[in-house]
């Protein structure tokens, strides 16, 4: 511990990964975020909590970000942002409006000295010293698959589906409603807590049984979940085992979590496919659920037996286990790269920003990031 602290004592670089629900905050060169907090700010007018990503207009987003970044610096980082560098870990699919507004807030309101944006899928590999992997990020709004080959994100192969925590929370709510009353009045945070504490991803054989007409097995035991001290609801075994099934229910286009992963592999060069299949890397909070990896493997193997993916001829599937929790794997990559000279080489400085008035595009960045 002491080693990197002395290295960094002269320069503290904030590393931020602003997720839809949770923001990971910490300093470059450290191996875990200092804080994981909700990406919300309290609205001064209405006194209600608002999610940053629920912005209504660019001006609205600007004000939300000012408030949010202020709290990060003065409550958590305990650091004056002026003339300090910052590292932002962001999705390659991050909307331009969000990136540009964030840059504007950081440079003109907080007067930071430089800003380095790192693509989350790419840098999440940093903690494992591999440069080729199929990165599957299961976040809140969606699951995004991007293959990384020799340190280069294969952007033409990306896949995204709205299969994330949000879909699961809705499923939990729907399933709970069948044997409880008043579920609609409970907040999403309750759904999240029920999901995290009670639910898991069940085995494929059991899922098939439950889907059949007369299941020969029973759901796992029910749980009595207290609400507000005096009341309680029943979280049935059905809810516990079926909430995550939504990830593998094929939609109208026959797409689900397992098919999108294989579709992404299909999109890359034939010589790289086997290598990617042997380097599957799951990140994002949803991937931390018990049984997630085991079930995904079963589902992928099942899909490979279908004609649709048989042509892939994949012999083996293998999964990485990062030296961290999946929900901050991308942040950790940012923290590792942030401690290198990369910051001084690639960051957008205040001078460049005010000259150009905008950030360079990802296309531009991804070309130069090959050697990452």
């Amino acid at each position: 511990m002491a080693i990197y602290e002395t290295l960094n004592s002269d320069k503290l670089t904030v590393v931020l990964d602003i997720g839809t629900v949770y923001t990971k905050f910490g300093f470059a060169g450290e191996f875990a975020p200092r804080n994981i907090m909700k990406s919300t700010v309290r609205c001064k007018r209405t006194d209600r909590l608002r999610r940053i990503w629920d912005y209504e207009s660019p001006e609205d987003l600007y004000d939300l970000l000012v408030e949010f970044i202020h709290v990060i610096y003065f409550k958590y980082a305990i650091l004056s942002p002026k003339d300090k560098p910052i590292i932002i870990v962001e999705s390659l699919l991050c909307p331009t409006l969000f990136r540009e507004t964030l840059a504007k807030v950081l440079f003109s309101h907080f007067e930071i000295s430089m800003m380095l944006c790192l693509p989350s899928h790419l840098v999440s590999l940093a903690s494992m010293a591999v440069d080729t992997a199929l990165v599957v990020d299961v976040g809140y709004k969606e699951a995004v698959v991007i293959p990384i080959c020799h340190g280069l994100p294969m952007l033409q192969a990306w896949q995204a589906l709205p299969l994330g925590a949000q879909a699961i929370h809705n499923k939990v709510r729907q399933l709970l409603g069948s044997n409880n009353t008043g579920i609609q009045n409970l907040g999403e945070d309750v759904m999240e807590d029920i999901k995290v504490r009670c639910c898991f991803v069940t085995e494929k054989s059991r899922a098939l049984q439950f889907a059949s007409e007369k299941p020969s097995i029973q759901f796992c035991p029910d749980v009595k979940y207290p609400i507000g001290g005096t009341e309680s609801i029943i979280v049935s075994g059905k809810v516990r085992e079926k909430a995550f099934e939504i990830l593998y229910e094929e939609d109208n286009d026959h797409l689900c979590l397992s098919t999108m992963i294989l579709d992404a592999i299909l999109q890359v060069d034939i010589n790289l496919r086997q290598l990617l299949a042997e380097n599957i890397f799951l990140i994002g909070g949803t991937a931390m659920t018990a049984g997630f990896k085991a079930r995904l493997k079963e589902e992928l193997e099942g899909q490979l037996e279908n004609e649709r993916y048989g042509k892939l001829h994949l012999k083996k599937l293998a999964f990485h286990s990062p030296p961290c929790k999946e929900n901050y794997a991308a942040w950790l990559g940012g923290a590792i790269y942030g401690a290198t000279e990369l910051l001084n080489m690639r960051a957008v400085t205040k001078e460049i920003y005010f000259k150009e008035k905008r950030l360079p595009d990802w296309i531009h960045l991804s070309e130069t990031s090959r050697n990452l």
Partner: protein, 499 residues
Amino acid sequence: MSYITGPDVVKYACTCGLLKPISYLYFCRYCTQLRCSFCVCHEVDSNFCGKCSENIPSSEARSKKNRCGNCYICPSCEQELSPRVASSKASAEGDEKVAARKMYYLFCQFCRWSSRDVGIPDQSSVTGGWPERENVHANSLHELLDLDKAIVLAQKQQQEKDKKKQRGKFISYTDRTGVTAAALRKRIGLPADLTHPLLKSKPKEPEPMVARTEVEKLPDDIFTKPINLMEITTINQRLLQPEAQPTTVDKLFPVHKQLSIKRTLRCRTCEHNVSKPEYNPSSVKFKIQLFAYYHVPEVRIVTVEPLRAGKPCELILKFTNPTQHQTTISFEELNLVECSEIEENKFSELVQNLSIQDKQPLSLSNQSSGSLSLSSRSPSIVVKPRTITKSTNCTVEIPTSSFILLPRDDAAEYDDSGDTHSIQDDPKLVKWRKSNKAFVRLTVTPDEGLPLNTEVNCGFVMQHLYTNTISGQLEKKEPQKYDHKVKVFLTLGVTVGSE
């Protein structure tokens, strides 16, 4: 303060374009402009622990990850933990040697969590020695970090070398990251350079992690064993310890308390402080406090006649002079469109006058030890003020005459001998006055055709004579007087029906 000044029916327009009640505004005496928390530069002044009220130097705060070394919060409910003396069994048995040593454990008075719940042994000292959890991956991650640093550094050196080469008009086409090989690879559909030529110079390379084919299975008993929710942590308890994120309560460890800060606020235009707290954590006083409340006359609504669309009604406002100097107040019509244009012109002038090069980096020698490594700071960026979006739906009849506000005199507050001022007031304008306060009558007319129960907003520009004592002292001249204009917005209430 909100119980004195609230509800926020009177708002002032800050120079940056935001509307705020006067208690939220600052007044920079050097710029004679209003400032607010949005348009000033915030800086960390000092760190302290809110529980033990201990000032922590910033170097120590950094090494302790912005947390207090001695105070802990409950990993279960996030309240503060307090040390408790363990009732020693040894003393009951009469063993004097052991009885002399008190043992402590941490206890939460809110949810009754204790450090004994998770098997942390009792400690012999109140303040410390509580075991810390280590990151099991720290060593391998260290190696990685060192390697990445080396790679990137080598890249940087390579880049610089390349630059030099090019400058010398000597461009090599056949170096190791050669164009030909890369082009070839691209043609056959492979990404360009595969091997990292720079890696070879690195003596030690951590093993790349190998992905596994066998994955963690669900525990067998998960399908049959009932779960006890009391043993499973909530999402908040997990995220309170980001590194470990324990899923069961027996792995919860006490969490060091996050430090708090005191902030210094600095005007971005002139780099002077508008607020600077005292260093002592338990002091709530300020070294510098340029609150607008002490410099700009306060406006309050006293009474307003029932508001009817299109009908004039009487509005009584109270003006208070907070300064030690007599001031004159006059009114101007509020013209938001024109205002923003003038503001914009003023801003571009300002930027020209204070372009970044012109502004001298300000030496911070008088700063407290909180920011020791900073010897100078780059000049602030002035953000363009935004246009005021608030709209009015009520006209104010602007009085042509002005009135005087006497200086504040604290002794006069207790003087009941009646008003002895000798001021000739316009009786139509000033209704009554006492010491530094004046009650002023205005006529307002809500717009024609406003529906019932519509909130009525009006505004005017208040011009007051501001006596600046600071510049006077500096140049040893008479105190300078400025006419300062503030846009004031009033929320009068809702329209009612005709009698």
